[in-house]
Amino acid sequence: MAKQQAKAQDNTTRWIVIAMVLLVVVTGVVFSLMSQNNKENASLAALDGTKLKPAITSTIDPANGSAIVLNPGSTKVIDVWEDPQCPVCKNFENANGDYIESLVRDKKATVRFHVLSFLGDESVRAANASFCAADEGQYLDFHHALYAVQSPLENSGFWSNQKLIDIATKIGIKSSKFTDCVNKGSKIDVVKANYDSMAKYGVQGTPTVFINGKLWERKSPDFNLAEFKAAVEAA
């Protein structure tokens, strides 16, 4: 009798402990999910007060991996291969993005942006939206905005088409043509062409940069403007 009672008690304790472990794990998951979500939505605040810069006409060059070409015809050509979700590309953009933009605006160099999408569905959506923005003449603005709000978690669900439109709206791209282009995935063929051209140019990861067709390799542990600028000017 006493033995049976002890056994029943033992079983109860076992289930209580198992339930507690499950509770801890579930709480951890829910907490992580919520904090990730909050952080991503809060990141849009980084775009507050952004003003849309004057449009720059761009072309798509099928002869060069269907890249977005800005300021064609310069003797200096810079190829930038990036995936919108790649965290190291964000570092590159933070260090050198403004400088590259100035090269385009001051007509110092031709810059070809190869927008890749090998990091998953959200890269595909973001790349599609990038080409839509290029049609509006606002590729650089959108590119800058994407990296400003990039989630540290890849394919988290953050970059839905709607969120990409919200991001564009926030920086001043408001045309219904853009919205349509994002929602319909109108640029999927160009997105694919960019991705498919990686092998031809021997690009294995991002960011990869060529200056006048020559692979640029950084020497310093992090990207820094002085190093990149020197490499561009020397070319």
Binding site: V29, E154, G205
Partner: protein, 162 residues
Amino acid sequence: MKNFNARFQPIITLLARLVLGGVLLVAGGLKLNKPTDSANAVAAYKILPANLAHLVGYALPWLEVAIALLLIIGILVRPAALVGGLIMLVFTAAIASVWARGLLIDCGCFGGGGEIDPSLAAQVHRTYFIEILRDLGLALAALYLYLFPYGKLSYEKAAVEE
């Protein structure tokens, strides 16, 4: 051998609990405050769809710490060892799968994770091998605990009538 085990079993059980529990505690503890890294690390194995991989990444550190505490304190050692051993086998299979598919990643076992530059391939393959050996070793410790859950310094004691 049988005599040896009969004599030292309570101490071996204690050691197995501390080793398996200790590794899980460190592994889980290092990842607890970096859930995003953990979620990315699981996704980098490219076995599960992204959103499921993220959930596993969020859950794993907590599960590891919970199992570790049960093992170290000595509560429900048999079920805890069963779960601990199973996750070690899952880790082993996951690393083997990544290796077979030619992916180069940091396992993210103790935090970190993600893809690794192709130039480090040889080193990564060596690391995979060591990780598989380590996880299989820990699975053996778990098996021992499943067979002999009662040992020294344990909250839970063997039932007297056995």
